[in-house]
Symmetry: C2
Amino acid sequence: MHSASAPVFLQQLGAMLAWMDKAEAHAQARKFDTAVYLGLRLAPDMLPFVSQIRIASDAAKSCMARLSGVEPPKFEDNEATLDELRQRIRKTVDYVKSVPADAIDGSEERDITIPMRTRDPLHFKGEFYLKHWALPNFFFHCTTTYALLRHAGVELGKVDFLHVD
Amino acid sequence: MHSASAPVFLQQLGAMLAWMDKAEAHAQARKFDTAVYLGLRLAPDMLPFVSQIRIASDAAKSCMARLSGVEPPKFEDNEATLDELRQRIRKTVDYVKSVPADAIDGSEERDITIPMRTRDPLHFKGEFYLKHWALPNFFFHCTTTYALLRHAGVELGKVDFLHVD
């Protein structure tokens, strides 16, 4: 359970940090404020860039917390600059790394409850939650972040998404 | 290895089939040909909708084939309508289901070679390949497909992406 969660989150969060550098370089070259990125949306009723990164962060830290049986840490959701989003990604990396592998391993049958905004909570077993909820949700928000940067003209390619060494 | 691959692919491919129905309803309501979807792109240098679905399909079938030690089946990449894309997704579902669980289980240490268009092939062990390459790549193309439909105005929400029963 640990090897199917933490290293996957860390690979993708590391990739996202590299995208932020390319986004910053693109804004400098085109002479616009990097804060513009935070409000970008792919559709008027989709969440903006800043939320995509916050929710990707939440997906990773909540998964680690829930599988290890503790409350997910709360981050303030008050990032207003690209650099503050970088810091949030780094805080998420630190949290993922801080959870001991042996607190996650063996969590296949742990009861997981997901609070929902608009309906009753969802209940999963740990393994189902990781494979069918946490990872798809995490990749959804990472990919949407990537798509927003590509749509904004940032020079990224698949090699920046599949960021394996 | 099987429970971390096949059911994840099947959940998301099933979700994609439901998106196709919503895309068709949207096109009918707005009176445009559903074939228009196939050429949509989020950026001029990103692959179009039709390719996103083909590559999501390839990611799933190649993963199942490689982990079980056989050549991935070749599909013709000649879909020209939304309905042909549906058929491709269904063929992919059928292939994923056709691979016996015991051909996948135990493939953690299997040597996997990924041919690349622009560089030398990549070499992974089965478990690393599944977690750090096949699943991220699959979710990348599923999410980009979803993003294109959202960008086109199709009424989809996160509940359509995280399609758990």
